[in-house]
């Protein structure tokens, strides 16, 4: 290598170092999965995207502790709740020992403003007489002991009425005052994390804290903690994806270096070959950093996978190196097909830039910039640092023999008919939907964990996660009033049996207007005393017994309506905040449902209420994904047309264009056929992988086509493409073994693509050398 080459190499490495430092200091990596959510269009979709991961309900994690001895489990449960209640990662923790929804002592007089039981029948003499007669009878009931405590202060039992209204209809059984599963084998807890469900890093921190506390409290007892909930899943997914990506990445890198050495027998090629790739990665990151505020972790992981094909570019140069030709000339020679391939691949990825999904736009930006930089550095910088060429790379008797043998293979033109027909048949006959719209199928949460989650939710009687009714108000009061107006319809839904029950914040905190009306209907102390005197005649109670009651009613008549602020720090505030919160300048009120039996009837019942939106989160997310995909497909159609135009410009011959496109089109159909025939529904990641595979196919075909019928050129091209396709296959075949469905989908699709494209480009695009291949 000349001094100039060394200097250039040094400068290149230096620039990469500076670029790395710069990118590292400036780039902020986000873990918010919502970057991968499409832009919402309908109100339901906006609510979906906006409330995912933000609503307190989604931050709930369900815990189960199992072990041999229930009393020990109960002890651990209690200690854990205390420890987590004090931990900064958690809002609160509950295990049933907390006095459910109760009214704080200081707020007790407010019960006459909160309760709905006096709305129909005002608190008058006959109402009171009826209540007191009931209480007298209660004195002979098994509940006498419990009711006596309340009697002097609350003869109409408003407190009990409210608490029983607020109680979940079903509660887990208790052992030692804490929740247990019905079989008594595990104790149950609910915690709310501070971190949003879709913040895997925050969730991971919370989880670690939880496990540390549990390990400490468990001591030597062989108790096992199980965690469940969307936050736990997001942390699980992220960590597993990261672990597998690192594992496969390391394995692939080692295998690549080995392959490069086997192919070129020179370790410097393996090292130099990494330079365009590193330049691509840094330039891509810098571009994303410059355009977007933060880059998503998935963009990084996935983007590097896509950029990985840039590893092929230097290989084309290396394989074509020969004694007597300067590397710069070699690079000049491989540039036309390389340039066309890179340009068309970039066009395909540009379609994702217009997808409207931030994460995908970032991905496109990273990939397009990266591939372009890799191509340019391969063409203009790499040749000048290679140094002297001492032998042809693509040499060897085996290569010649292989070359001849391939030439003798029959040309499978029949595939031109077979593959489209098979594809049509597979599409027609498959019973699975073509596209996978179900987001939960994409999540790599193992099925047994999902089943366990469903079980825990059932045990703990948590609200339905799929259906919600949402109102949007100018302020909290407006939202509360709207919620109150829904009660009649909701009661109809309960009566019709479409839901078991429902819950919303106005059940705990009525609107100011309603509270004022109730306050105005309360009798004054004098009138109440007279009523009591009359009502106790013939009953075993002295009227004077009820002095605390008279006092509470008198106090209620003076109270300002209960406001959200008055409830701060009480269990009621928690209940309310999960269903009443401000977002984008509006206040949202959420009605949640329990035991949804018939969603269709429920939707029918709740249809057409002004200002209220019935949300089917699953349907909304599926619709969102379908709309999004239609948009991306349209972009890809345009990209395909544009791509053909670019290839036409480069080759300027219809037959050449057809020969170049054939393997790519057939392989894409083949992949779809294989996936469909094996019952796989396609998702966004399949789509991206198909584009990646198509880009590879185009590259292969362009190079084989470029080599024309020259024997030496064909041998070198075969060498280059063997190295390229083997290295790509290696990386993606490894991914196909991943347990993360997304990685697996990419791995399988691209592996199929590499095999199909290489074989078809070799057999359909490469020209036969009739002179030598003739029998």
């Amino acid at each position: 290598m000349s001094r100039r080459s060394w200097l250039l190499l040094l400068a290149w490495c230096l620039m990469l170092g500076i670029g790395f430092a710069e990118v590292q200091s400036r780039l902020s990596i986000s873990a918010d999965l919502r970057l991968f959510m499409p832009t919402p269009h309908t109100e339901a979709q906006r609510l979906l995207v906006g409330s995912i991961g933000e609503s307190p309900a989604s931050r709930l994690q369900l815990l189960a502790i199992s072990g041999p001895e229930p009393h020990e489990l109960a002890r651990i449960s209690k200690a854990l709740v205390a420890a987590l209640g004090a931990a900064s990662e958690f809002e609160w923790a509950a295990n049933g020992e907390q006095a459910g929804p109760s009214i704080a002592e200081r707020l007790l007089p407010y019960r006459y403003l909160i309760t709905d039981s006096l709305d129909q029948r005002p608190l008058d003499e006959s109402e009171l007489a009826g209540a007191l007669t009931d209480r007298a009878q209660d004195m002979s009931s098994p509940l006498a002991g419990m009711l006596e405590e309340w009697l002097p202060r609350d003869p109409t039992l408003e407190t009990l009425h409210l608490i029983s209204q607020w109680q979940p209809r079903k509660e887990p059984r208790r052992i030692d005052d804490v929740w247990f599963a019905a079989d008594g084998r595990h104790t149950l807890l609910v915690v709310e994390t501070r971190a949003a469900a879709f913040d895997p890093d925050g969730q991971t921190r919370a989880l670690q804290r939880l496990q540390v506390e549990f390990a400490r409290l468990r001591g030597a007892i062989p108790a096992v903690l199980t965690v469940s909930g969307s936050g736990y899943f997001s942390s699980l997914i992220k960590n597993r994806t990261q672990r597998e990506a690192t594992l496969f990445g390391t394995a692939a890198t080692a295998a690549l270096v080995l392959l490069m050495w086997l192919a070129y027998r020179q370790i410097r090629f393996a090292l130099l070959g990494a330079l365009p790739l590193l330049s691509a990665a840094l330039a891509g990151l810098a571009a994303v950093g410059a355009i977007f505020e933060s880059v998503h972790g998935i963009t990084l992981a996935f983007g590097f996978t896509l950029i990985g094909v840039a590893q092929d570019y230097p290989m084309h140069v290396f394989s074509h190196l020969r004694v007597g030709e300067r590397p710069a000339e070699t690079a000049h020679g491989v540039w036309p097909p390389l340039r066309t391939g890179v340009a068309s691949t970039c066009i395909a990825y540009l379609a994702f830039l217009l997808s409207g999904v931030t994460g995908l736009a970032q991905l496109a930006c990273l990939t397009v910039t990266g591939l372009a930089v890799a191509a340019v550095t391969t063409r203009y910088v790499l040749p000048h640092v290679i140094g002297s060429v001492t032998k042809d790379s693509a040499q060897g008797a085996w290569l010649d023999r292989l070359n001849v043998r391939i030439d003798r293979l029959p040309r499978p033109y029949a595939l031109l008919a077979i593959i489209p027909v098979a594809c049509g048949a597979a599409l027609f006959m498959s019973s699975q939907p073509f596209w996978q719209n179900d987001l939960s199928r994409l999540t790599p949460v193992p099925l047994d964990l999902l089943r366990r989650d469903a079980e825990l939710r059932k045990e703990l009687a948590t609200p339905d996660l799929r259906y919600l009714l949402v109102v949007s108000g100018r302020d909290a009061q407006d939202a509360l009033e709207q919620l109150e107006n829904l009660d009649a319809r909701l009661a109809t839904a309960v009566r019709s049996g479409s839901i078991g029950s429902y819950d919303h914040p106005a059940r705990y905190l009525p609107s100011i207007g309603r509270q004022l009306r109730r306050r105005a209907a309360l009798p004054d102390a004098g009138a109440l005393r007279d009523m009591l005197t009359a009502a106790t005649v013939g009953l075993p109670f002295e009227a004077a017994l009820f002095a605390p009651f008279v006092e509470d009613v008198a106090r209620a008549r003076e109270l300002a309506p209960l406001a959200l602020a008055d409830l701060a720090g009480t269990p009621l505030a928690l209940r309310i905040s999960s269903g009443l919160f401000a977002r984008d300048g509006r206040w949202l009120g959420i009605v949640s449902f329990y035991d949804v039996h018939d969603a269709a009837v429920l939707e029918q019942t709740l249809r057409g209420i002004p200002g209220a939106t019935f949300l089917d989160l699953k349907a909304a997310s599926e619709e969102l994904i379908a709309v999004q995909r239609a948009h991306i497909l349209r972009c890809l159609e345009f990209a395909a047309l544009f791509l053909v135009a670019v290839i036409w410009l480069a080759l300027r011959s219809a037959s050449r264009v057809v020969r170049v496109l054939m393997p790519m089109v057939l392989t894409t159909l083949l992949i779809v056929t294989v996936l469909r025939a094996s019952g796989v529904s396609l998702n966004l990641f399949h789509l991206i992988s198909l584009v990646l595979a198509a880009g590879l196919g185009l590259d292969y075909a362009l190079f084989f086509e470029h080599a024309a019928a020259h024997a030496d050129e064909q041998r070198r091209t075969l060498h280059a493409l063997l190295v390229c396709s083997l290295s790509t296959l290696l990386v993606f075949a490894l991914l196909a073994f991943s347990t993360v469905p997304v990685l697996q989908a990419i791995g399988i699709t691209v592996s199929l693509g590499v095999i199909g494209n290489f074989a078809l480009a070799l057999l359909l695009t490469r020209e036969r050398r009739h002179s030598r291949a003739a029998p």
């Binding site: 004195m139 009931s141 098994p142 002991g145 419990m146």
Partner: protein, 201 residues
């Protein structure tokens, strides 16, 4: 209560005598004494231990009510009203009472000593079983349960709360309806006064 060692009736012996195989139905008369009441409230009806192990308490006078305890839930139906369901977890005192009642019917009196200080007083012609809760939290609701009986029959249950409120449940010999004085009713329950006002069934 003073135990009589010379004439000792063991708890095991008693529990064997008390065992009843469901279904069992027995009439009862209840008196409730409470600080919130001017006069004790009297009610009567039947207690039933059903084959499905549910305990049913049916009041027929002075009003109609049925309370059914099945598992951890009490269902109370009174007149035409919608039934009231209460989890026993919310009414610990009732839960304990029912638990001890069930234990007696099932012949598990000796097991009660896990939760209670159990004293059996055996006197000629009658016996009394006193249960005092060991758990401090339970002791806030319940001072003691006394069961008075002769031979293999419990006659009367006395449940006393720490504030002095009490319930007397007569199973065999209902007192005259005109009696309302607590000391007299207590004596009748304990079977210590001559039966000048009681009338045999």
């Amino acid at each position: 209560m003073i135990a009589n060692p010379a004439h000792s009736l063991g708890i095991e012996e008693l529990e064997a005598k008390l065992v009843r195989k469901p279904p069992v139905v027995t009439p009862f008369v209840d008196y409730r004494f409470s600080h919130v009441l001017k006069v004790p409230v009297r009610s009567s009806g039947t207690l039933e231990y059903r084959e499905d192990e549910a305990l049913v308490r049916t009041v027929t006078s002075p009003f109609r009510e049925q309370a059914e305890v099945m598992g951890e839930e009490v269902q109370i139906r009174r007149g035409e009203r919608p039934e009231r369901r209460v989890s026993l977890q919310r009414v610990p005192q009732l839960r304990v009472l029912l638990g001890s009642f069930r234990a007696m019917l099932d012949g598990h009196v000796s097991q009660l000593s896990q939760d209670f200080n159990v004293v059996l007083a055996d006197q000629p012609g009658r016996w009394a079983l006193t249960l005092r809760p060991l758990d401090a939290r339970l002791a806030r609701y319940l001072d003691r349960i006394e069961v008075h009986g002769t031979a293999d029959r419990p006659h009367c249950l006395e449940v006393v709360e720490p504030d002095g409120d009490a319930t007397l449940t007569f199973l065999e010999t209902p007192p005259d309806e005109r009696i309302s004085a607590r000391p007299v009713l207590e004596s009748l329950c304990r079977g210590v006064t001559p039966e000048k006002t009681g009338h045999e069934r």
